[in-house]
């Protein structure tokens, strides 16, 4: 009994740390890779590779330099974000299997595969020539390496530049560098447009970003999400708890949330079908009616998937934030 409890707790802590640990890893990744669109990555420096169609290519993923000998035609994606990236850059037809959590774009070849606890044999059964995941769990890189299958680890992005770099990298690795650059350029233009429209300076506006309720996990301004909301000059109320969590994802005290009086509340766990916290539910919490965001109906139910991924749909998230900011400041 005692052994079971201890192992449950260890696992639990590990699960809670997934977000922040992945984030820390992403820090390493950003040091190794450069934003797509610049021609400084190893393979892109050769003229042919710049066109995005010449193999072999070597990409600097977070798990080191990965060489892909020929254009992959049997890709397995174990990460929802990587799946979205693959289809956005035009590599969709080369994808043979995606993990159980990949659900966008519609019609992706969903399987029982898991990125959280990958089963190497199950992956190998698809005879992939490229595997992309967000973490190197269960000896994924070494194990598939023995089978001669290259693996790209594309961890949770720490910055917008990281997110763009990953799209570029996935484009390069699959022979779609040109389209990947177009995707990134479009994303940048759209995001810049939303920021222009809503304004980049809102010194008085604070927000509370709810990752989970009971306990109330949030994000500080230094996280990936914090930086995106920060484009509009907003400050997270979780910044006061920065010291308590190195990863930037502190568990906030409920009374602090109320006392901090956030002007906007973003709900990143909002899918009602999945038992999420909808704006209606949040507004009815005891004591929460004292929060300006609740009084002004500025409790925003985000699209959970878009708000938790760092792929090509980021501009949609920025648009949702921009609308809320415009209303709250107007």
């Amino acid at each position: 009994m005692i052994h079971f409890r201890a192992s449950t707790r260890t696992l639990a802590l590990a699960a809670m740390a997934v977000v922040s640990a992945a984030d820390a890893l992403a820090g390493c990744a950003s040091a190794a890779s450069t934003p797509a669109g610049t021609a400084s990555s190893p393979a892109a420096s050769s003229p042919a590779a710049a066109a995005g169609s010449s193999f072999p290519v070597t990409v600097a993923a977070s798990n080191g330099s990965v060489t892909i000998k020929a254009k992959p035609v049997r890709i397995v994606s174990l990460a929802p974000t990587a799946t979205e990236d693959l289809y956005a850059v035009g590599a969709g037809p080369q994808v043979v299997a995606v993990d159980q959590d990949s659900d966008y774009p519609p019609g992706v070849p969903v399987t029982e595969l898991s990125g959280l606890t990958p089963n190497l044999e199950a992956i190998a059964r698809y005879r992939p020539d490229l595997v992309i995941s967000y973490q190197n769990a269960n000896g994924l890189v070494t194990g598939l390496g023995k089978l001669g299958i290259p693996v790209l680890i594309e961890p949770a992005a720490a910055t917008l530049a990281d997110a763009y770099a990953q799209i570029g990298q996935i484009g390069q690795a699959t022979g779609h560098l040109t389209q990947a650059r177009r995707v990134v350029a479009t994303m940048k233009a759209q995001i810049a447009g939303y920021v222009r429209q809503a304004g980049a300076a809102h010194p008085g506006l604070t927000y509370y970003w709810e990752l989970t309720a009971n306990p109330f996990y949030s994000v500080t301004s230094s996280t990936f999400i914090g930086q995106i909301v920060g484009l509009f000059g907003l400050k997270s109320i979780a910044d006061a708890a920065d010291k308590a969590s190195d990863g930037g994802y502190p568990e906030l005290s409920e009374e602090y949330i109320i006392k901090a009086q956030p002007r906007i509340i973003f709900l990143a766990d909002n899918q009602a079908a999945d038992g999420g916290q909808t704006p209606a539910v949040v507004s009815k919490r005891p004591g929460w009616s004292a929060i300006p965001a609740v009084q002004d109906h500025e409790v925003i139910g985000l699209n959970d998937d878009i708000a938790s991924r760092w792929g090509p749909r980021l501009p949609q998230l920025v648009a949702e934030i921009a609308q809320a900011v415009e209303r709250a400041s107007g």
């Binding site: 009994m1 409890r5 449950t8 109320i258 009086q261 005891p286």
Partner: protein
């Protein structure tokens, strides 16, 4: 041994200490928190609620909302959960004559975990509101299965405990399997498994109150029978007690107490095993004392632990299980060293 007799508190003193501890813990807890309410104004606002007392307080409406809708319900739930877990732990230790038993035994924690996981994974939008009920039912079902399995193997308490371990492992395996099939619910489920009093409401306190009252009353009424049981089944029979019947009643009541606690707090370990031992060290082994004192001390202990959880890294919080074990273990060892052993 004579010196330990001297250390042991007389019952009236033991009650006094336990009540004072609970009151002090509650007051401290009411006065501190991330919202940094003025302690004097908070005291005044609290005293103002006592009938026939009217005190002006400088707390504004926001501060009042924090105090009466967030902080006080959380303290109330902490008192209930701490008391329930401790009394259940003490009751089980008496039934099984085993000092290592706690409130999560006999498949109670594992059953609650499975119930909560099933609700979160399969009930979709109804999930969050169904979790307390599912955990409550799962916890009771876990104990029932363990009890029935153990009873088949014979009348010994060891058989029953071993059956509980087996049932617990089985239910945990099912829970892990279900969770593995639905990784997007991982965070929600693990948050629940870790245990937390964050987000406690008056409604929760009201919902578990009837079960808490009934179960605690039944356990407390069986103090004398547990004392008789402690000399052994044969001797207990000779003294006119039915060991099997007492065991069934107390196990059922303890299961109800633990299930009520688990429904609103998730799995909080350590309390149910440590508090009764501390009480025994201070007040002696009689269950007529150990049970009510565990109720009071456990309540105070969990209130203090939760106060630390929500203030040490304020405005962030620590998981309460971390605090109960991190602070509780050294204190427990210290108490073990500074007092002498007591039979369970």
């Amino acid at each position: 041994m004579t010196s330990t007799r001297g250390r042991r508190l007389r019952p009236v003193w033991a009650y006094g200490v336990a009540v004072a501890f609970l009151v002090a813990a509650t007051l401290v807890s009411a006065l501190v928190g991330a919202a940094d309410l003025n302690p004097v104004a908070t005291l005044a606002a609290l005293a103002d609620r006592i009938p026939f007392v009217h005190l002006p307080s400088s707390l504004d409406s926001l501060d009042r909302a924090v105090l009466f809708e967030i902080r006080l319900p959380r303290i109330t739930v902490a008192i209930m959960v701490g008391g329930l877990l401790s009394v259940a732990g003490a009751g089980y230790q008496g039934v099984f004559r085993n000092p290592l038993v706690d409130s999560g035994m006999l498949g109670a924690s594992a059953g609650a975990g499975l119930g909560a996981t099933l609700a979160i994974v399969y009930l979709g939008s109804a999930g969050p509101s169904a979790v307390p009920v599912a955990a409550f039912a799962g916890s009771l079902a876990g104990v029932a299965i363990a009890y029935l399995s153990g009873a088949v193997g014979g009348s010994g308490t060891t058989t029953l405990l071993l059956a509980g371990v087996a049932v617990g492992l089985f239910l945990t395996a099912v829970q892990t399997y279900v969770l593995q099939r639905s990784t997007q619910d991982l965070q929600q489920v693990y948050s629940w498994l870790l245990g937390s009093l964050s987000g406690a409401t008056w409604q929760q306190a009201g919902e578990i109150a009837p079960y808490a009252a009934v179960s605690v009353a039944i356990v407390l009424l069986h103090g004398r029978q547990l004392d008789v049981l402690s000399v052994g089944d044969e001797e207990a029979r000779a003294l006119g007690t039915h060991p099997g019947r007492v065991r069934l009643i107390v196990v059922a009541a303890c299961a109800l107490a633990a299930a009520s606690a688990v429904a609103v707090s998730g799995l909080i370990g350590f309390v149910g095993i440590v508090v009764p031992h501390v009480v025994r060290r201070l007040a002696g082994p009689s269950y007529r004392l150990v049970l009510p004192l565990s109720l009071l001390t456990g309540a105070g202990f969990l209130v203090l632990a939760d106060t630390l959880a929500r203030t040490v890294v304020s405005p962030a919080e620590l998981p309460i299980g971390v605090v109960t074990a991190l602070v509780g273990s050294p204190v427990f060892v210290w108490i073990l060293r500074s007092t002498a052993a007591v039979r369970t």
